[in-house]
Amino acid sequence: MKCGIVVFPGSNCDHDVYHVLSHVLEQETTFLWHQETSLEGCELVVLPGGFSYGDYLRAGSMAAHSPIMAAVRRHAEAGGRVLGICNGFQMLLETGLLPGAMRRNRDLRFLSVDVHLRVERDDLAWCSGYRRGDVLRMPVAHAEGNYVDTGEALDELERRGQVVFRYVNGAGRREPAANLNGSERAIAGICNAGGNVLGLMPHPERCAEEMLGNRDGLGLLAGAVAGGGRLGALAAAGG
């Protein structure tokens, strides 16, 4: 599958995602410059982590207005796959491709630790390598990952099954101590109603190789390039 990684000034996980997609998963992978207006035929678009435009104003807010984001929006609306990791997730919230917003972490400090995630959906291509209820270990590294939305919007998100990953303890149970950034309903990752746009705060690209002691993230990136074609069909087939 042709994969494109958008490079914004301040992106700093672009090379890491490239490494996994290109060298581990052996996909045709290219960088897309933020000032371009074409996705060059990429089927998977990744908005990588980092501090786009220094995260000045709000995390992800200036990147949401980059020229390439119009093309990303069209791609998403046409059912194409878009994956936002960390700062990329923040951008998806800022563009409105995903609902909700981010606040600063509960203790107002940058948080760089391994967390446990519970897989809440396994009917999406993204999660085709996991089963519902699986507990994954992944690193997080962010200062603004405290997900928030109104009560009704969160209920709606839950009702539509758009919560894909939640912060849990090692045994797979929710508890305040495992939800370190303080996200509402322990939300770590969500998708859009069509299931083709996914955003999450943890970094699957940093835990995709045996050598680094953890391959829990490989399934997600493998899922992202699995199958090809239109993701809407896969999502619909899954329910």
Binding site: P9, G10, N12, C13, H15, D16, H19, V20, G49, G50, F51, Y53, G54, D55, Y56, R109, F110, L111, S112, V113, P139, A141, A143, H203, E205, R206, A208, E209, E210, M211, L212, G213, N214
Partner: protein
């Protein structure tokens, strides 16, 4: 043009009093006038004072620094460049350096620490190397109680500053150390290390060459921040230091990140000849040092320097330490290619001058020549002092042997040590730093040595920074030796061969003979160890005048050594690399073996300092041959794939090291040692704990014997308790209890 330079309008008259205000001695000022053949202009005085400052000229340390070995078959660039460069194999080289940002961090902790990280990153990427790792070595004063309130503020600010800067640029902070001692109450130490890698044929140097070639200025505009930062960093603090807050620079990590990417891209373009960042002393040191390296001169039109406000004087422009600025020298007529790359990254670039063959730096401003100075005599001919050195008057008193009382209950003593900020868990700090970005981190912070894979090769790099200031205070030469020995040992625990060292020498005022003696002795001890282990010093930094109202910091020669693991594959025979290379018990049934001998040494030990509240005697002796034998054994055992884990014995001694191994993953030990309760806390050097599968024990013991390293089996890994029999009793504790004390220590102390 042969106009005699003159001060700009409104600038003060230059005389010996103004020179003295700039930190120049009468002799230095006289020498400057002789060199110029006239009285300097105001701008020239400012330039000379910066270049002659301790920070830029190393005038008090130069004669001692010559003691360091600086060559080996791996050294590509030794001291003198922005960062030293060593060959790490497979066509790759590593560029690294450590630098202090002590003075600014004490005055303004957040910006001081942040710009420390920014500066060291620029030092690395100006060499053409992409930064892949940072370490930070921090020393704070007492943080307890009411008196510690300011120190807690400093800890918080420094940690946030380092984190916010490194995290944003996207360079992982993979290790370092943090210590607390009252000698840092008036002067904290912030030593930042960065390492970058590049292909061996892609290295750049900061050289201006080729008359007529254009000089480009890139990055942030020049403002008034940081003026005379280098001079401030060359003075002791006094009651008025607070007023120096405006001399602290303000950092912008986002600009740094784009400057990094744009610079690396520009260097790949093939038209860049030389690159230099504007660090200490800003445009002054970058122009003069680049010209000096190329044996060239420069003509700079200060009207072309991009400014934040139009009213800056030439003096201010030359001395500003505004951050995130670079100078490029390109091929003549090719500057547009570089400007285009920079502007694609949203950076301003302008041509501010050209390289000449005059050997002089000529600066013009509004049609007037404001400086015309010979380059080489100012840079390489800066004064060098052989300051009088003598042991401190109270040395004998310091080294008087004090009897150490044996603990009535070693477990209680262990818990007390684990509960100090000094020896407590440092996760509160580490988790504010991104340690996994760039996806190379196999072992991150909190271990003996960090380990990073080197993508595209079978190898890995190992990094560590070490120093024990109490040892250095009691006996500087032994302390200097120990810092190097411990760093080499830490690398050996992961099987890495040391390939190069950088350091940051933090001392008080060299004008005090006792401090000059400490400096000389520490360097001598370090140099002895470097020669013994064949580790070249390839870069470094000296920070003097770390004292306030006559109270100097403990001598703190921070050492950072980089090692290479040739084949990671060999080491992982016994399981996952991050488990095997970390320093914790993880597999029940493994045998625990103690390597090395104890001689019951307590001078400057954690037990003596933190529990007996005494700092006296002689520090543990460092037997360089014994260290070399131990390290060779560890590397051999790693290469052979025998070990499932390894941890060296350092501060706190054997019991603390065993507790750390147990707390790492909550897996315990049942064992016995043949020593009394006090020896559990002895800090004799050249020791390590290794774990091996039972089937490998024989091979390990035989190899140890062959190398003359004492080895004894201590017990077996397993269970959730630390149980250790010693002569006269047993330590027996649930690991969870120890962990609680250990993990709560620092968060509680910083409030």
């Amino acid at each position: 043009m042969t106009t005699t330079p003159s001060s700009a309008a409104g600038e003060p008259v230059v005389d010996s009093a103004l020179a003295a205000d700039h930190g120049l001695t009468g002799e230095e000022f006289g020498g400057l006038c002789d060199l110029l053949g006239r009285s300097p202009t105001c701008t020239e005085l400012g330039i000379a004072s910066a270049l002659y400052s301790e920070h830029c000229s190393y005038k008090s340390s130069k004669i001692h620094l010559r003691r360091f070995p600086t060559r080996s078959r791996r050294v590509v660039h030794g001291p003198g460049e922005n960062a030293g460069v060593v060959d790490i194999g497979h066509g790759w080289v590593a560029a690294f350096k450590m630098e202090s940002h002590n003075h600014p961090s004490f005055i303004e902790p957040y910006q001081g620490a942040a710009t420390g990280v920014g500066g060291i990153l620029r030092d690395v990427f100006t060499m053409g190397a992409r930064p892949i790792a940072c370490l930070d070595s921090l020393r704070f004063g007492e943080i307890d109680g009411e008196r510690g309130a300011r120190m807690r503020h400093l800890v918080d600010g420094v940690v946030r500053g380092i984190g916010d800067y490194g995290n944003c640029v996207g360079i992982p902070t993979v290790g370092g150390e943090t210590g607390f001692h009252r000698s840092y109450n008036g002067n904290i130490l912030v030593n930042a290390f960065a390492l970058g890698v590049c292909r061996e044929d892609r290295i750049f140097t900061a050289t201006a060459s080729g008359a007529g070639n254009p000089i480009l200025y890139a990055g942030s505009r020049t403002g008034r921040d940081g003026i005379h930062g280098a001079t401030m960093a060359s003075e002791a603090f006094d009651a008025e230091s607070e007023a120096k807050r405006p001399t602290v620079q303000v950092g912008d990590p986002f600009t740094e990140k784009v400057l990094l990417e744009a610079s690396l891209e520009a260097m790949r373009s093939g038209v860049v000849l030389g690159v230099q960042d504007m660090g200490a002393a800003g445009l002054t040191s970058s122009c003069f040092e680049m010209a000096a390296r190329g044996g060239a001169g420069v003509d700079i039109d200060l009207d072309l320097v991009p400014l934040r406000e139009a009213s800056l004087t030439p003096y201010e422009i030359m001395l500003s330490e505004s951050q995130e600025r670079m100078v490029f020298v390109t091929q003549r007529g090719q500057e547009e290619a570089v400007v285009e790359i920079l502007s694609r990254w949203g950076l301003e670039a302008s041509k501010i001058g050209r390289v000449t063959d005059s050997g002089r730096a000529r600066l013009t401003f509004r049609g007037r020549t404001v400086a015309d100075m010979p380059v080489e005599p100012l840079v390489d001919g800066a004064p060098v002092y052989d300051r009088p050195a003598a042991p401190p008057a109270d040395l004998r008193e310091r080294q008087r042997v004090v009897d150490c009382e044996a603990p009535e209950d070693p477990l209680r003593a262990l818990r007390s040590l684990l509960g100090t900020p000094e020896l407590g868990d440092k996760t509160w700090i580490h988790r504010q730093y991104d340690s996994t970005v760039r996806s190379n981190t196999i072992v991150g912070p909190g271990s003996d040595a960090a380990v990073l894979r080197l993508k595209g090769t079978p190898s890995a790099l190992a990094l560590t920074s070490d120093v024990n200031p109490s040892y250095c205070w009691l006996e500087p030469r032994m302390g200097g030796r120990q810092a190097v020995a411990e760093a080499v040992r830490n690398l050996a625990t992961v099987g890495a061969e040391p390939v190069g060292m950088t350091n940051c020498l933090n001392f008080g005022s060299p004008e005090n003979p006792a401090i000059a003696w400490q400096l000389r002795e520490c360097i001598e001890g370090m140099a002895e160890a470097c020669r013994a282990f064949d580790v070249p010093v390839i870069s470094g930094n000296v920070s003097l005048y770390n004292e306030t109202e006559g109270e100097a910091v403990h001598p703190t020669p921070t050492v950072a050594i980089v090692g290479v693991i040739d084949r990671l594959e060999d080491i992982g025979a016994e399981g996952d690399l991050h488990l095997v290379l970390g320093c914790g018990f993880w597999r029940p049934g493994d045998r625990v073996v103690l390597l090395g001998c104890d001689s019951g040494e307590y001078g400057g030990s954690a037990y003596q300092r933190l529990l007996q509240r005494v700092e006296a005697g002689r520090p543990p002796a460092v037997d360089l041959e014994a260290e070399a034998a131990l390290c060779a054994l560890l590397r051999q055992s790693r290469r052979a794939g025998w070990l499932s884990g390894c941890h060296d014995l350092a501060d706190g001694g054997l019991l603390l090291a065993l507790a750390e191994c147990a707390m790492a993953r909550g897996i315990g030990l049942r064992g016995a040692v043949g020593c009394g309760p006090l020896a559990l806390f002895s800090e004799s050097q050249a020791r390590a704990i290794v774990t091996v599968p039972a089937a490998r024990t024989e091979e390990l013991l035989a190899a140890a014997e062959a190398r003359g390293v004492a080895a004894r089996e201590v017990g077996d890994v397993g269970g959730d308790r630390l149980v250790l029999d010693f002569e006269g009793g047993t330590v027996d504790s649930a690991i969870g209890d120890l962990r609680r004390v250990w993990t709560e220590a620092l968060p509680r102390a910083v409030g």
